[in-house]
Subunit: 307 residues, 2 copies
């Protein structure tokens, strides 16, 4: 199980440049930024992002923060490291919020804000830490990598009944060797247009650092796919793992995946996998000098709606 | 994670004696006994046993079996190894059912009954195997041991958000050393009257084979209490662990526990723990010659309502 690492502290704020898509940010004089590390069981949420009429992680988190800090018309300027879809879990997620001096006063004599937020939160969201962010910290743009894990049970797996909510079950046989061959094609810098819901003006170029695939004999022989990338666009993890599963069950070949990737075109892509087996397990931030470069690059390359 | 062992096959049926409390058993000529190994997430069940108007594991299991075998007025003569309370989980549970020749015919050409039952079951119950029981098998009376695990997070633990449903969280510090000292007093054969909901005419003498207590550094430093006993009476595991927690948090001493055990009297006992952290993780059956002795002993000692 994951023990979320204490976050690496960041020293400098990325300098803005004119090319950047500027995020709407109500961090002005008098506001201070806070970093919140947390996790959730995504089963009963319509995803992370706030949507009127739906139970989302963000809306529940904002509600709990309002118990301590009072009503916020702008959701405390919250920005998230990884916008997870409906049903996707997060064992380690990060947001930042910006608090005014009068909001900060409400922390009062009990500085254990994490515990107080947890008391106000529903049980399926748990805050690990609530800390003043170092200068320059941006939960989304400063992040240098995201790590996801997808757990899939095939015919030869045994699923612990206490893991049913967290494992995708497929009534097929998966060939892990083929899956690994297809995964090799995905690693590196590519235009993942074939595996992203594209947004106007946003690049679909991403770097995947690795994709590790194994069966876990200590966990019922479940297939675990771990993906680490600088960032992933919308739907990308489930689209990539969908392609891997198509190959592993014999519905596509490794070169089909390779061709699809080169096409950079979403039309005719492989089936996206259901969210249940997927969990964001780590968000990483660089140290010191690398931060400015990281944030600048991220802001330039990506639209506001992606992670 | 547990991989339920293939059950040990039993060769002889325990001979009945006049002293026994005879179970109501509709196993008559023409009926054959089947063994079902399964597990469940107990969160959303009002316990194992059928109760009108409540969602229980037994009622859901019977409903699913009826899809294949047709209506049964007597719940297929189902008997369970460990009657779990509301909210308690089972990673490995066993029942037997008795099927008539005409019911057995319905198995037809698809012998994979486990898969068919799973299709009819809600997701929070999963059947691992459905097999013809060997002569003499009784899910409850033939069982030679039950193993339970209780997981408790204290102040120094980190709970993975995907484990929230399966871990009891306490905002105190637990002293594992004290817990172990108190547990030593419980191991062996005792009258557990102080830790059981007594039933008229039923013995509260049980044998606990071991109680292992550790913090699991790979699982957020959660305290795991594993108890193996021949059998446990109603509420006993939660009452014993409640006493251990009372000692571990400094509310009682080891001799308090010892005195309470000797009193064999439930009055003034320690607080019973909530069910969330508790899971039945294994039911064991003896081989061959030991079976008859085991079943006879169990039937003589225990009432119908206990396990």
């Amino acid at each position: 199980m994951l023990q979320p690492k204490r976050h690496l502290l960041l020293k400098k704020r990325a300098s803005s440049t004119k090319e950047m898509t500027k995020p709407v940010d109500h961090k002005v004089d008098g506001f201070s930024r806070y970093r919140i590390d947390f996790g959730y069981d995504g089963t009963d949420f319509a995803g992370f992002a706030k949507q009127p009429g739906f139970r989302t992680v963000q809306s529940e988190l904002v509600k709990a923060l309002e118990v301590i800090f009072g009503k916020s018309s702008k959701d405390f300027g919250m920005r998230v490291a990884g916008r997870t879809d409906a049903g996707v879990h997060a064992q380690h997620q990060v947001v930042h919020i910006d608090l005014s001096a009068s909001q900060i006063k409400r922390i009062g004599r009990n500085p254990d804000v994490a515990s107080r937020v947890n008391t106000a939160l529903p049980e399926d969201i748990r805050v690990f830490s609530f800390e003043k962010a170092p200068a320059g910290f941006d939960a989304r743009y400063s992040a240098s990598f995201r790590r996801y894990r997808f757990r899939i049970a095939d015919k030869s797996s045994f699923v612990d009944p206490l893991q049913i909510r967290y494992v995708l079950r497929l009534k097929v046989d998966l060939d892990i060797g083929l899956m690994r061959s297809a995964a090799k094609k995905m690693v590196g810098v590519h235009d993942f247009g074939a595996f992203c819901k594209a947004r106007a003006g946003a690049s679909t170029v991403r770097r995947i650092r690795y994709i590790k695939i194994k069966r876990n004999p200590k966990d019922g022989n479940i297939v675990e796919i771990e993906l680490k990338g600088d960032a992933f666009c919308h739907n990308m993890v489930r689209a990539l793992t969908g392609a891997l599963v198509a190959v592993a069950r014999g519905r596509a070949t490794v070169s089909d995946v390779s061709d699809r990737l080169k096409s950079a075109n979403r039309a005719g892509s492989f089936k996206v996998l259901g969210p249940r087996g997927l969990s964001l397990i780590e968000v990483g931030y660089p140290r010191d000098e690398l931060l400015a470069e990281q944030a600048e690059k991220a802001r330039r390359l990506r639209s506001l709606d992606e992670n």
